[in-house]
Symmetry: C2
């Protein structure tokens, strides 16, 4: 798919260009939070609860406070900490609002919850001092499974631990089920796992007496800026959040954590001494957000020819000890219920979703938010139904997928699907994987008594680039979905972009530069993109829901287009011609169709900034524009994955022989970046399907607290991936659809389906460890 | 003049508000370049020429290079240094373009010129290593006086040392002189002195492999950014100049110095290791720009009733060894010739000005640029003529000052004066000082044989806020005069301003905040102003020619006004009323005339950023605007000063008994700031008139190289100043005229006139030291 860099006057969009960030990142000059060294910097360590659920009867920090080179010991009862709590809000009537303290007071609710913090001259001293803090805990019964009755509620406000419940109900589900030829019913449980980025959480906070600067690996710097300002009672202008280079986020870093706020509160007390905390892996597994600890009770009715008639579901999501800020306990249940029916035509839909508090780490946004689990549930139903109806897994999907002719399609949850290219994705996936050849080989192997092979399929729709409409639901700190972008032509004719997007490795600097290069009409090489600093860019909602290429890209395109319009207006005046006849490409101004340029953008920029005496009447100096992109709706992205696996009869090992993913990213801005996103998300999906599992014991202790116990896929575990694009332009300025989450949606369903196809067994619990397969083989 | 802070709905303009910068500066949290501590920072010391003029036959840096913890020794012959020279450009045909090397090669041209640089782990080690550099000099004859014939030219390109010469010639000067009743002829010489800010020059340069960041006390960060990018062959977007808090500039820091460029070149070689140089006072006196080393040969014709008929002048300015970058050798001569006739009506004007190279430190812009000297020349002529015509010094000025009725008045140099309020300033000054009472007291003292007293006067026009027209002359790196400003209402309803202005202590954060507060309609306290960072603000030409309140303030006003328009448009839609009926003051929206607000700006800002689903059709999210202000012409500011002095017959001490200054700042944005500017500039003018003198010996050695020899006024030497305003609105959006330089224009002339008035002697050379007065008393 890779293309060589082409000449400057070719469009940048669609090309594989050298990534803007690579020179820096590949030569070791990336600048992550942990690289930040500031004068007089002090280091923080957090004391964390060793209990899943306990009362705190006493904390004695006397010894720690007098430890050598310790500059502060903080507990939740101190006024500055007690005054600040996180209260994630929701407009849902059923929502039970709870408080998350910055440092636990009175009670701890999960193992790993921050109880105290120490500031010392280095991290070692800080950790040593933690051991001198004496905490008396009175253990309470812990609840770790969301669908078992709790002995002791996590929050007094919710005696049954249910923080949020909502029922989607469209059509006549009981009647439709009653009239169905076949009703399939399943109970499916997905495994708690998490984003686990290469770079753990990290923050440096500095209070200069008036202003707070917070360097953070956050995915949402502007929102974090606003939230911190509100929590600390500061004007937003006095808070600056800087997300420098960030080593992976995956949603985990789209949360404002107690540790973040604690750092800022401590920085205020340390006046002028920056405080730094870099999370270690053990802390991360324990206390960063988890996800996908769900149970699906699902029942679907089908006609004899495989038409999906009705879906009745009950979804329980373990949201952990707290409603994560600002997303609430609703983030997974609402996404699960809103998109459970996926890309399939459905009129009768009833689904109750609930978020249940437990004594586990809070769950939060993680690549695909609930969808890897809900796609698994939906696709399992289809596979099951197909088997019982004597259809192929392929045909039952063909029968039910929404088609382009039905677009816009109002899903039973009321979300409006604007794609419809699901059948095309599926057909391309099965064609690429070689469906018929596979069947022949499967038969041959079966007959030869060789290891069995199986083929699995998954189709999914991904809601990307949330617009105003989709974001208007929950009572979040915001109800909108726009980003802003400023495009500046500098006096030398090169372009600086201040974009509201953030990057955790997705190459947004590159993507935005490609968009702006084409919008303005300059070579990609002449565009510099600055992101991640709330003092520079006007506004961005941040990196979540695959929104940035669509929304941040849309804003970049609009700002660049506005600047190009001014360039052409200025050129028309200076060259005494008509703006409509002019074009700007590769930084040169031409009369359309002519080879020889009239002049260069550098010449015009010089006039605009340095020789305004030559500016025509009515044209203001400068060449800059700031624009927002604020669509009503996002852009659904279609995807399908297919894989062939082989099962080793003797070991239960599941080997992936082929993996195909077809996605529709709309206009592909940079094939390499898009494929990188898809490949990475499939790898992460495979991790969730096969290896990653955060397991709590009954007392609420995390049994998988290191990477020895919590298994991650390495490059050796990720098969060669075949990635294909559809490239059907979406209805937005650039025609783009988001990518980056879709890949994670397939693997659970594909592998479960493939295992069924290979062995005839039905998988009900994830992950698909060798032990599970080996049991199935018995 | 001070007023207490008034309620929020009162206009901020015109009030004494608490300065934005004071909390920081007065509590020791100002952040100057020398406060900057970066990891791995290395320190620079410069080896400077001990000769005023010499050939360099050999430099041996071997020993220095192997000195302990020395990381680099650099000389001008190294390719990276030889490749970069400063060539200040001018469009004047007579201009002789010369090169200023970053580090001297072949030849040194003034004592103090940088010859080599050492980078070491601290400044002490770097200075120690300087002593190990062995330079063989072959001394050449030095020229230090611009109006004596040179033995050896400073630059081969200019054998007579004249780098620039221009003759202004309007009317029929010989004829007018021939027909005059009285011709007065004088030779006047002014003393070389300089800005000498409390904070010397300082810079930290960091190259990260792709980008250069230069922290500098510069007055012109955007221009410096552009110049550095051009000199180093970098895109402007890859160069960031940050002027943090700066402790005084006065023009001295409006120059790009060889040391600045050397730091940046060295930073590139040090890849990732920041290099820091903080000038010490000895270096500053030796090698920062000097000024006002001028000779005026002037001849003026008057009618019998004191009308100024003609002026014939020859002005020689010592421009030192180099055309200072980017201002050229023309900065003082052209200003001297362009404004010599000052606020006086004149038709016949001939003036030849020349900039002459000598073996002294380069002269550059310094508060008032040439005008303190040229006002001294002009006012001395008037005082002389008055005495000979038997008129009072007051009446001869009244006779000749331009009046408001003559506005716009085209001066004989073709500059267009838009003020005319000179007579008003003068009358108010003499009324305040008590002219008649003074005369009575003078007579009484004379008769009683007491110490004589004298009264001096000076009138001046100040060209402030250069517009396109005035700046279009010399072939500078720019030919325009605009600034840009971005005004952002944050989602919390408070305002952040990214202004292109810079501040060296003038309180620009405060001034801009007052302007924006009124333009948007919010309390002053809700406005935050960020300046000095080229990565934040779009554009500013910087601090020179008293331009920032006019130009930067104009841009702030326009951007704020644009934002207010959007606020009202949004309010009209949301509150279902007509925008024309609405006002926004104190952050509240009201129907005109009603007490109860409809809502607050915070509510509207929340909609604009966080609830765009509530935005009316056609209104884009956000509340931000970027505007330029780019006037054709600046705004002339009128001023008059009057003082009474007493001369101690026994010591020659000159004591100031009263000092009055009346200036017309147009609209006074902040009386305290304006008065601070005027008081500071008078103090600096007094220093130049009485104490400060940079003296070279014949070999080109600076004899006054420390503050023991170079005398500065302290608060004990500055009299109580009475400052009055006229406040005649100028023809620009805010009605403002610049202040900040005017004060320096008076003291030379006032004190010389007062001495004449007291003793009857004529002063021809400045400064007026006790020795000069004592000589006059003989």
């Amino acid at each position: 798919m890779s293309t060589t860099v082409t000449p400057n006057d070719q469009p940048a969009i669609g090309r594989v260009v050298r990534r803007k960030e690579d020179t820096r990142l590949l030569t070791g000059r990336g600048h992550y939070v942990s690289d930040l060294q500031l004068p007089r910097m002090r280091h923080v360590a957090f004391l964390r609860s060793p209990y899943g659920h306990a009362k705190i009867s006493r904390i004695d920090a006397t010894a720690a406070r007098s430890a050598p080179r310790v500059h502060g010991v903080f507990t939740g009862d101190l006024p500055d900490f007690a005054a600040v709590t996180l209260r994630a809000l929701s407009a849902l009537p059923s929502y039970v609002e709870t408080e998350q303290p910055i440092l636990a007071r009175d009670k701890v609710r999960f193992s790993g919850e921050p109880v105290a913090a120490v500031i010392a001259e280095d991290r070692y001293l800080a950790e040593d001092a933690l051991e001198l803090i004496d905490v008396d805990y009175e253990p309470l019964p812990a609840t770790v499974t969301a669908w078992l009755t709790p002995e002791e509620p996590v929050h007094a406000e919710a005696p049954d631990n249910v923080l949020l419940q909502r029922t989607f109900d469209t059509g006549e589900v009981p009647e439709a089920l009653a009239g169905a030829h076949l009703v399939v019913e399943r109970e499916l449980v997905t495994n708690r796992h998490a984003g686990n980025p290469m770079e753990c959480r990290a923050g440096v906070a500095l209070w200069d007496g008036e202003r707070l600067t917070f360097w953070s690996g956050t995915q949402v710097p502007h929102i974090a800026r606003n939230m911190l300002a509100e929590l600390l009672g500061l004007p937003e202008g006095n808070v600056r959040v800087i997300a420098p280079d960030v080593g992976g986020g995956f949603g985990t870093k789209a949360v404002l954590y107690p540790e973040d706020v604690a750092l800022c509160v401590m920085a205020r007390q340390m006046r002028g001494f920056p405080v730094k905390w870099v999370e270690d892996r053990a802390e991360h597994l324990l206390a960063a957000t988890h996800a996908r600890d769900h149970r699906y009770l699902v029942k679907a009715g089908f006609s004899a020819d495989g038409e999906l008639l009705a879906l009745d579901a009950d979804v329980t999501c373990n949201v952990g000890a707290y409603s994560v800020y600002p997303w609430t306990a609703g983030i997974e249940p609402l996404m699960a219920g809103g998109l459970l029916s996926g890309p399939y035509r459905l009129q009768h839909y009833r689904c109750t979703v609930r978020g249940v508090a437990t004594n586990t780490a809070p769950s939060g946004p993680y690549r695909g938010v609930a969808r890897p689990a809900s796609v698994f549930a939906m696709e399992s139903l289809l596979d099951d139904a197909a088997q019982r109806l004597g259809m192929s897994a392929l045909d039952i999907r063909r029968r039910n997928l929404i088609t382009p002719a039905e677009i816009p399609y109002r899903m039973p949850s009321r979300l409006v699907d604007d794609s419809g290219w699901y059948g095309e994705c599926l057909e391309k996936a099965v064609a690429t994987i070689g469906y018929d050849e596979f069947r022949a080989e499967q038969t041959r192997r079966r007959e030869a008594g060789e290891n069995p092979i199986g083929l699995g399929l998954a189709c999914y729709n991904e809601l990307t680039g949330l617009g105003r409409a989709a974001a208007a639901g929950p009572r979040m700190p915001f109800r909108t979905g726009h980003d802003a972008c400023t495009v500046r032509v500098n006096p030398d004719g090169r372009v600086t972009v201040l974009s509201g997007v953030t990057s955790q490795g997705q190459g947004l600097e590159t993507t935005v530069a490609q968009i702006v290069a084409d919008a303005v009409g300059v070579p990609y090489e002449d565009v510099e993109v600055r992101i991640g600093d709330t003092n520079e860019s006007l506004w961005g909602f941040g990196a979540f829901s695959s929104r940035q290429a669509v929304i941040g890209g849309g804003a970049a395109h609009r700002a660049g287009t506005r600047v190009r319009e001014k360039i052409l207006r200025l050129a028309a005046e200076l060259y005494e011609t008509d703006a409509d006849d002019l074009s700007v490409t590769g930084g040169e101004i031409r009369v359309a169709g002519e080879q020889k340029p009239l002049g260069t953008l550098a010449e015009l920029a010089r006039v605009a900034y340095l020789e305004s005496n030559r500016l025509p009447q009515g044209i203001e100096p400068g060449l800059e524009a700031t624009r927002f992109y604020d669509p009503i709706r996002g852009a659904f992205a279609a995807g399908a994955q297919a894989a062939v696996i082989e099962v080793d009869r003797t070991t239960g090992e599941l080997r992936i022989l082929k993996w195909v993913c077809v996605e529709d990213a709309g206009t592909v801005i940079n094939p390499q970046v898009v494929e990188g996103q898809i490949a990475g998300s499939i790898a992460q999906g495979l991790g969730g399907a096969l290896y990653e599992h955060l397991i709590y014991d009954e007392a609420g202790n995390l049994s998988t607290g290191t990477l020895m116990d919590y298994l991650m896929p390495t490059s050796a575990e990720v098969p060669d991936l075949v990635i294909e694009h559809l490239s059907k332009p979406a209805d937005n300025p650039l025609g783009v659809r988001g990518v980056g989450e879709g890949g994670t949606l397939g693997p659970n369903a594909v592998l479960a389906g493939a295992l069924t196809d290979a062995l005839g067994v039905r998988v009900t619990h994830l992950p698909l460890t060798p032990a599970v397969v080996w049991e199935a083989l018995r």
